[in-house]
C-alpha cells in the first residue's frame, strides 16, 4: 500500500460526493473551461482534474467518481479510499470538498462522517438547497455539528462558488478536523484494536486514521473481494476477526453501519433535515412508469433518439463528406500529380474525414444521453427495461447503448459508460457491433437488390423487405444470444444485484449537457481518431500499391475504370484477397469479394465502392448503381457458374452482419478498455462467428439443393 505524503508544492484538493449531487457541475464551475481527463492508476475509471488558481495559491483539483461510501469490494470502488486516504501511487489529499445534496442530507452526511473519521480535512458544499424551500438545512448548524466549514452552493447557477473557493483557501491552512464520536459497540472496538497493528505503517500514522482504516478493512476485505494491494498480513488479521465475529453471531457490517446511522439520526433533530415532497416527480412517474403510457413514452423516446441518429445525423454526415471531398478535389487540382498527392488526398484527407464523420452521431447520442441522465429519465428507462435485460444477464441500463448500436457501434460503445460496473460495460461493448449498424445497410441493399428480384411471398409480403428486416432481426438475436453466452463464460462475474437510485426529476442544465458532448467528442478525436487515421492510411496503401501506370490524360471513363481494376487486382490488397480465397471459398465467396471485405475494414459501406473498383465500374459506384449490379450478376466462376447466386448473397450478408469489419469500432473498444486484449478478442470471436454462420448458411443451402 504505502501511501506517499503529498510533498508537491501544489496542494491536492479532492471533490467527493454521492451520485446525483450536482458534483460535476460544481467541478465545472470551479475549473472553468480547463480540465484534463486521464485514468486512475491501475483501473479504467476516468479521472478528471484541473489546476486551479485560488487567489495567490494554486491547487490541483481532482473529481472523484460519485460514491455512497468508502467501503469497497472492487478496484473501481477502491479508488475512493485510495484517493482520500492515500494509496499506491497516490498522494494524501490536503483537503476534500464534500458535495452534499441538501434534499438527502443524512445519507450524504454518511460519507462525510466516514471522511472525518479518517481525519481528512473537509469542506462541505451544501448543494441543491434551492430545492428545499423554507425547510432548507442551515449551513451554520452543519458546521457546528461536524466542525467543518459548510458553504451553500448552487451547481445550476454557480451561486456560492466564490465562497467555496474562499473556504478552500482558509481550510488549507486550518488544523486537523474533529473526529466524530460514533458509538461503536465494544466488541467492534475490540476488532478494530486487533486489526490496527496489521495495517501498513502509513495507514496508522495517527490513532484516528488507524482506527478508521482498520474498520474500513473489516468492512471491505473478505475472501471474495477483488481489492488491490491489500497485503496478506492485513487479510489474515481481518479474516481471523470476521470468523470469530460470525461464531459469536455478530455481523461486523451491520454493527459499523448502524452505529454511524444511529449517531447521524441523533444529530437529525438539530439539523432539521427532511426530504422535500416529491409530488411533482410522483405525478410524472405515474405516467412515465405506467404499464401502458410508460412503455409508450419509452418507445417514443427511443424512436426519437433512433430517428435522430439514423436519419437526423445524415445531413451532417453528408456535409462532412462533401467538405472532405471538396478539399480533396481542390488539393488534387493544386498539387502536382504524384504518389505524395495521392497519399495526402486518398490516405490522409480521407482518413481524417472517416474520423470526423463519426462526430454527428456521437454528438447527437450524447445530447440525448445527457438529457436523459440529467433529467432523471435514464434511471426510469432502466427501471422499465430491467426485467427484459435481466433475461440475458444484463440490467436495464444496457438497453440504450445496445439500441444505439443499430445506428453506429462507435457512439454506442462510448455510451456504455453510463453503466457503473465494469463487467456490464465490457459485456455490452462486446455485443454492440452485432447489432446491424447503418453502415451495413448499403451492403444489404446492394446484395438484396442485385440477387433477389422484387417479388412477393404468397403474393403478399415483399421478399426484399422481408430479407432486410430478417437481417436486422438476425443480428439482434445473435447479439442477445452472444450476451447470454459471454456473460456466462468469458465475462462471468460475481452476481452483483441491481441497486439503483431513482432521483427526483430535474431540469437538465444545457451547458452541462453541451460540455459533456464536447468532452466525449474530444476524447474520441484524440484517443480513437489517431488509430482510425493510421488504419485508414494502411488500408489505402494496401489497395494502392504497388500500382500500375495510369492511363494518359483524356482517357475514356472506361479506360480509367479498367486501369483501376487491374491496379487493384495487382495491389497488396488484391493479393491478400486472393490469399484468403481458400478460407472464404466454403462460404461461396471468391477473391474479389475478399478484396471488398478487406476494403470494408475502413468502414463497412466502403465494401460497395471497393466492389465498384473490383468490377471496373469505377469508384463512384453506390448501392443503387445499375452497372455495378449488372457486373455482379454477370460474374462467373472459372467453370462458368455464376458467382452471385442468391445463396452466396445470403452467405455474404450473414458474414457482414456478424463480422467485426470496422477498425473504428475496434479503436473505440481499445480506448474504452485501455488495452488490446478486448478489441483483439472481439475481432477474433466475431470473425469466427461470422465465418461459421456463413459456412452453415452456404453449405447447408447447398446440401438442400438451393445453390
Amino acid at each position: 500500500m504505502g501511501s506517499t505524503q503529498n510533498t508537491n508544492a501544489t496542494p491536492l484538493v479532492v471533490m467527493a460526493g454521492n451520485p446525483n449531487t450536482g458534483k460535476t457541475s460544481l467541478f465545472n464551475h470551479l475549473s472553468g473551461q480547463r480540465s484534463r481527463v486521464g485514468n486512475y492508476p491501475g483501473v479504467t475509471v476516468e479521472r478528471k482534474s484541473t489546476s486551479l488558481q485560488l487567489g495567490e495559491i494554486q491547487v490541483e483539483l481532482v473529481d472523484l467518481p460519485g460514491c455512497y461510501s468508502l467501503t469497497a469490494r472492487s478496484p473501481e470502488e477502491q479508488i475512493a479510499v485510495n484517493t482520500v486516504a492515500g494509496g499506491v501511487r497516490q498522494a494524501n489529499p490536503n483537503l476534500v470538498v464534500v458535495v452534499v445534496d441538501a434534499t438527502q442530507l443524512i445519507r450524504n452526511l454518511y460519507l462525510l462522517t466516514q471522511l472525518l473519521e479518517l481525519q481528512v480535512p473537509c469542506v462541505v458544499a451544501l448543494n441543491m438547497i434551492d430545492e428545499m424551500g423554507p425547510q432548507s438545512p442551515d449551513p451554520a448548524v452543519i458546521q457546528q455539528v461536524f466542525g467543518v466549514p459548510c458553504v451553500p452552493t448552487n451547481g445550476r447557477t454557480g451561486q456560492g462558488i466564490q465562497s467555496l473557493k474562499d473556504a478552500i483557501v482558509t481550510a488549507l491552512d486550518a488544523g486537523p478536523t474533529p473526529v466524530p464520536e460514533i458509538p461503536y459497540p465494544p466488541a467492534l472496538q475490540a476488532d478494530i484494536d486487533a486489526v490496527i497493528p496489521s495495517l501498513p505503517p502509513s495507514w496508522r500514522d495517527t490513532e484516528a486514521r488507524g482506527r478508521a482504516l482498520a474498520l474500513w478493512a473489516l468492512n471491505s476485505v473478505d475472501g471474495t473481494d477483488e481489492l488491490l494491494d491489500i497485503d496478506a498480513e492485513l487479510r489474515e488479521a481481518v479474516e481471523t476477526r470476521a470468523t470469530a465475529a460470525a461464531a459469536a453471531q455478530r455481523d461486523i457490517d451491520t454493527e459499523a453501519i448502524s452505529a454511524r446511522y444511529i449517531w447521524l439520526d441523533e444529530q437529525q433533530e438539530v439539523l432539521c433535515s427532511s426530504a422535500p415532497a416529491r409530488s411533482r416527480t410522483e405525478s410524472v412517474d405515474s405516467v412515465l412508469l405506467h404499464p401502458v403510457y410508460g412503455f409508450a413514452s419509452f418507445l417514443l423516446v427511443m424512436l426519437v433518439i433512433f430517428q435522430a441518429l439514423f436519419a437526423g445525423a445524415d445531413p451532417l454526415i453528408g456535409l462532412v463528406e462533401t467538405a472532405f471531398s471538396w478539399m480533396s478535389e481542390h488539393a488534387i487540382a493544386i498539387l502536382p500529380a504524384s504518389i505524395l498527392t495521392d497519399l495526402f488526398t486518398e490516405g490522409i484527407l480521407a482518413g481524417v474525414g472517416s474520423v470526423v464523420v463519426f462526430l454527428p452521431q456521437i454528438l447527437l447520442l450524447f445530447l440525448f444521453i445527457g438529457l436523459m441522465e440529467d433529467s432523471g429519465y435514464m434511471s426510469r428507462a432502466a427501471f422499465l427495461m430491467d426485467r427484459i435485460m435481466r433475461a440475458i444477464g444484463l440490467h436495464g441500463r444496457a438497453f440504450v447503448p445496445m439500441m444505439s448500436g443499430f445506428a453506429c457501434a462507435v457512439p454506442a460503445i462510448m455510451a456504455t459508460r453510463t453503466m457503473e460496473r465494469r463487467r456490464d460495460r465490457y459485456l455490452t461493448m462486446m455485443v454492440i457491433p452485432l447489432m446491424s449498424c447503418s453502415a451495413r445497410l448499403p451492403v444489404y441493399t446492394l446484395v438484396i437488390a442485385t440477387l433477389f428480384p422484387p417479388s412477393n411471398l404468397f403474393g403478399l409480403v415483399p421478399v426484399q423487405g422481408l430479407l432486410m428486416v430478417g437481417m436486422y432481426l438476425f443480428g439482434t438475436i445473435i447479439a442477445l444470444v452472444a450476451t447470454a453466452v459471454l456473460g456466462r463464460t468469458v465475462l462471468k462475474g460475481q452476481h452483483i444485484p441491481l441497486l439503483m437510485e431513482l432521483p427526483p426529476y430535474r431540469m437538465p442544465t444545457f451547458g452541462l449537457v453541451l460540455r459533456r458532448m464536447w468532452e466525449r467528442s474530444r476524447l474520441f478525436l484524440s484517443e480513437a481518431g489517431g488509430v482510425i487515421l493510421v488504419c485508414t492510411i494502411i488500408l489505402w496503401g494496401l489497395l494502392s500499391f504497388p500500382g500500375t501506370t495510369p492511363p494518359p490524360d483524356g482517357a475514356t471513363q472506361e479506360e480509367v475504370a479498367t486501369w483501376q481494376q487491374t491496379s487493384l487486382e495487382q495491389s497488396y490488397g488484391g493479393q491478400l484477397g486472393k490469399a484468403i480465397e481458400p478460407a472464404i471459398r466454403p462460404l461461396g465467396l471468391d477473391w474479389k469479394i475478399g478484396v471488398g471485405i478487406i476494403g470494408a475494414f475502413a468502414a463497412r459501406e466502403v465494401f460497395v465502392s471497393t466492389m465498384g473498383l473490383v468490377y471496373g465500374v469505377g469508384d463512384a459506384a453506390d448501392e443503387e448503381s445499375m452497372s455495378l449490379r449488372e457486373h455482379m450478376t454477370a460474374e462467373v466462376h472459372t467453370d462458368g457458374s455464376p458467382v452471385y447466386t442468391p445463396l452466396a448473397g445470403l452467405s455474404l450478408m450473414v458474414f457482414f452482419a456478424l463480422a467485426c469489419q470496422c477498425v473504428s469500432t475496434l479503436a473505440v473498444v481499445k480506448r474504452e478498455t485501455h488495452g488490446y486484449r478486448w478489441p483483439v478478442f472481439m475481432f477474433v470471436y466475431m470473425t469466427l462467428l461470422a465465418w461459421m454462420a456463413s459456412f452453415v448458411v452456404y453449405q447447408g443451402g447447398m446440401l438442400l439443393g438451393l445453390g
Binding site: 448502524s258 446511522y261 426530504a275 412508469l289 410508460g294 426485467r387 444485484p497 441497486l499 439503483m500
Partner: protein, 83 residues
C-alpha cells in the same frame, strides 16, 4: 412476525429487521440507510412485475424481487398482536 420485503405489498410501511443476501449488496443497502429499524415502503412495482421501487429515508431505490425476498422486515402493529 417478520416477513420478506417482497411480500409486504404496496404502500405499507414496514421496519427493516435484517438485511440478507450477498455481502457487498447487503452492505450497500445498509449504507444507503436501510439499517435495522429504518422505515421502508414499496412505492412502485415495475410494469413487468420486477424490479420494485422502495422508499427509504426520503430517497427512492430500485431493487429486484430476488433481493427484496432476502430483506426481512417487520410490519408495524405486529408487536401489539404478539403481546
Amino acid at each position: 412476525m417478520t416477513l420478506p420485503l417482497s411480500q409486504i405489498g404496496l404502500n405499507a410501511p414496514a421496519a427493516v429487521q435484517k438485511v440478507g443476501g450477498e455481502r457487498s449488496f447487503r452492505r450497500r443497502l445498509m449504507e444507503l440507510g436501510l439499517v435495522p429499524g429504518t422505515e421502508v415502503t414499496i412505492t412502485k412495482i415495475a410494469p413487468m412485475g420486477d424490479p420494485l421501487e422502495i422508499k427509504v429515508r426520503g430517497s427512492r431505490l430500485s431493487i429486484r424481487q430476488q433481493e427484496a425476498s432476502v430483506l426481512m422486515v417487520e410490519l408495524p402493529g405486529d408487536h401489539a398482536q404478539v403481546a
